[in-house]
C-alpha cells in the first residue's frame, strides 16, 4: 500500500455490528469476517476520500503510536482485504 493510495469499501462490502456475538464484522459477498479492534479502527477511517498516508497519520495521532508501525500493520491488513476483493484502491 502506497501513501497516496486511496482505499475504499466497494459496493456490497460494509462494516456491521454483530449484536449477537457482540463484535464488529466485515460483511462481503458470501463472507463475514470478524474484525478485531485494530481492524475495526482502520476501516472506520476508510472513507474513499482520504489517502492511506492521511489515514495512518490520523490513527497514529489518535492512538499515540509511531506512524511507521501503524503504516506497516495497516498495509498488511488492507492488502489482504484488497486481495480478497473486499477493498478497492485507486
Amino acid at each position: 500500500m502506497e501513501l497516496d493510495d486511496i482505499p475504499s469499501l466497494p459496493r456490497g462490502v460494509r462494516i456491521h455490528f454483530d449484536k449477537v456475538r457482540e463484535h464488529w464484522v466485515l460483511l462481503a459477498p458470501e463472507r463475514a469476517v470478524t474484525l478485531d479492534p485494530v481492524g475495526h479502527a482502520i476501516l472506520q477511517e476508510v472513507d474513499g476520500e482520504r489517502s492511506f498516508g492521511e489515514i495512518t497519520s490520523t490513527l497514529a495521532e489518535k492512538y499515540h503510536a509511531p506512524a511507521a508501525q501503524i503504516q506497516k500493520d495497516s498495509s498488511g491488513f488492507l492488502t489482504a482485504l484488497k486481495n480478497r476483493r473486499f477493498l478497492d484502491v485507486v
Binding site: R11, R21, V25
Partner: protein, 369 residues
Amino acid sequence: MRVNPPIAMLAELTHRCPLSCPYCSNPMELARIDQELDTETWCRVFTEAADLGVLQLHLSGGEPATRRDLPDLVKAASQAGLYTNLITSGIGLNEKRLAELDESGLDHVQLSLQGTTPEIADEIGGYNGGFKRKMEVAKWIGDIGFPLTLNVVLHRRNLHQIPRALEIAQEIGARRIEVATVQFHGWALANRDALMPTREQAQDAIKIVTKARQELKGKLVIDFVPADYHDQMPKRCMGGWGTTGLNIAPDGQVLPCHAAQTIPHLKFDNVREKPLADIWFGGSAFNAYRGDHWMPDTCKTCDRKEVDFGGCRCQAMALTGDPNATDPVCSKSPHHVAVKEQASAHAAHGDHVPLTYRQPPGKPAQAAE
C-alpha cells in the same frame, strides 16, 4: 457441547424453476406451489434468523425470481440487518425487476452458468436461449453495480471449459467465481454415468485453479469445489453439521443441509410450528451429527475429526447406506477402494449418455429420450 449460533442461512424460496439441470440440489420430492411459505412467514423467519445470529442470507430455490414477492422479501431481510445474496439462474429477471431489487436493498447477486457455450449450457440447463439471456442479465447486473459472483457447475461434459469460465467472469465484471464440481446427491446420483469427471479431469482442474489463483490475485477471487469421489480425504461438509449454516425448504422445514432429507431417520422441524432458535439449538436433526458422539471409531480416533468432521453424512448414506459411516471418500473408509473404482467406471462412459433431467414439482422423475 457448546452450540454456536449459525452465520449463514439458505432460504429456498421455491422449488419452481425454468431450468431442469440434471444435478439440481433440490430434493427428489419437490415442494408444490401450494406448500410454499407465504410472504409474511418468510419475513418473520428472516427477523428470527437475524436475532439468532445469522449474518448472511442466501435467497435461492429453485429459481427465487419465480416468487413475485421477491423484492418484498429482500426488503424485509435487509431491514432485519441481514446481508442479502440472490442465487439465481438469471431467468425471470429483467431490468425492471433488477431495479426493484436494487431499491429493496439487495446486496449481492450470484449468477449461475451451466457452461461457457450456448450449446452445452442450454443442453445441461434444459432451456433454449438460456445462455444468451444470462449474458444479458449479467450486463444489467453490471449496469446497476451489484457485486457479482459467477457460479459454474462442472462435470465431465464441461470441465474443459474452466479457462473460458474464468475469462467470462472477468468480462462481465464478476469479483468472484465459484468453480464447483457436481456433488452427487439427489438428482445428480441418477446422472453419474453422464456427468462423473475422469480422474485426469479432476487433477487438471486443481492445477488450472491453483495457477489462476496466483495470476488473478486481487482481480478475481476463485472458490473451488473439487471432484470429491477422486479425492483421498472427505470434504468439510457444511463447515460442520449444525455449526455454521442452515437451510429452510420452501415448505418451512428446517434442514441442516440441502440433502439432509435423504437421511431417512431424521425428523425435521418446521418454522410454521416452532421458533427458529428452538429448532437450531434443540432440533433433533441438528443435534444428530453435532460433536463426535455419533462417529464410528475410525473417525472418533482420527486427528482430522475437527477438520472434516467425518465428511458428508448424506454421501455416507448414499454410498454405504449408513449415514453414521465414515464418508467413503476418505482413504480410511472400508468403502474407499470400491468408491474409487465406481467413480472410474461412471467416468468411463462417453459423451452420449442421456441426461435425466430434474422434473418440475408435482411430477415424477423420468429419463429423457
